[in-house]
């Protein structure tokens, strides 16, 4: 599964994208965020305030309870500020 990070999430994690293989127990967006927080200091820092993180699955906005099975690209980013 490909992970993409934007804005300060990208800056805090220190990379724009990476490929990961979460264990089978990681079934939802919420599970994935919890799992990522345990991957190291930069992840814990970037995801410290879960409410400030938005998630897209294959380029569609997704809630915390959305299943990630079969998803190819997960994006994590702060609330949007365009326009």
């Amino acid at each position: 599964m490909k992970l993409r990070y934007f804005a300060w999430v990208r800056e805090r994690i220190g990379t724009a994208e990476e490929t990961v293989e979460p264990p089978d127990s990681v079934a939802t967006v919420g599970d994935l965020l919890g799992w990522l927080q345990g991957r190291g200091e930069t992840y814990a820092f970037a995801l410290a305030e879960p409410d400030a993180i938005r998630v897209a699955l294959d380029q569609d906005h997704a809630e915390r309870d959305a299943p990630i099975a079969g998803v190819r690209e997960v994006a994590l980013f702060p609330p949007m500020t365009g326009g």
């Binding site: 993409r4 934007f6 804005a7 300060w8 897209a56 380029q59 569609d60 906005h61 994006a75 980013f77 702060p78 609330p79 949007m80 500020t81 365009g82 326009g83």
Partner: protein, 153 residues
């Protein structure tokens, strides 16, 4: 069927050209509403804004918002163009142009697009200060969530 035009671009946006284009060669349009979002200089503090976006999803999301607006209001045509990259004070960040037979559809469609674009389109603004102090990401505004919420049926 409304004519939709959506574009994400690094090039300067020509608001006047987009307004002219939407009404060119038609005489069934009675109302054209345009919204232009500009980079402010924040009392001289700002050197530039850097607009980061999520290529692919940004196009998809703006297309979706435009289609929703065209479904909800009787618009003849709707144009949504958002810029990314480095933008200087006075330059245009976003343009929405809505054309319709009667004015309310055009006003509402343009406002709806802007309210959803602000909260749903994957763009992020970073400020570059003129005096070189550390740059910062612009925080999302609760008022934008409120603005979006009022479009619930």
């Amino acid at each position: 069927m409304a004519t939709l035009r959506t574009l994400i671009t690094a090039d300067p946006i020509d608001t006047a050209g987009e307004i002219a284009a939407i009404q060119a060669g038609r005489s069934d349009i009675g109302a054209v509403v345009s919204f232009t979002g500009l980079c402010r200089d924040e009392d001289g503090r700002l050197d530039a804004l850097e607009l980061e976006h999520y290529p692919g999803m940004a196009e998809k999301e703006i297309g979706r918002i435009a289609a929703q607006a065209a479904e909800r209001w009787e618009v003849s045509a709707l144009t949504v163009i958002h810029r990314h990259g480095r933008i200087r004070p006075g330059e245009t960040i976003v343009v929405v142009v809505a054309a319709s037979t009667h004015r309310h559809a055009a006003f509402e469609a343009a406002e709806f697009v802007m309210d959803f674009l602000k909260t749903h389109a994957p763009f992020w603004k970073k400020e570059h200060a003129r005096d070189g102090t550390p740059t910062g990401w612009v925080a999302a505004k609760a008022s934008d969530d409120d603005a979006k919420a009022r479009w619930k049926d």
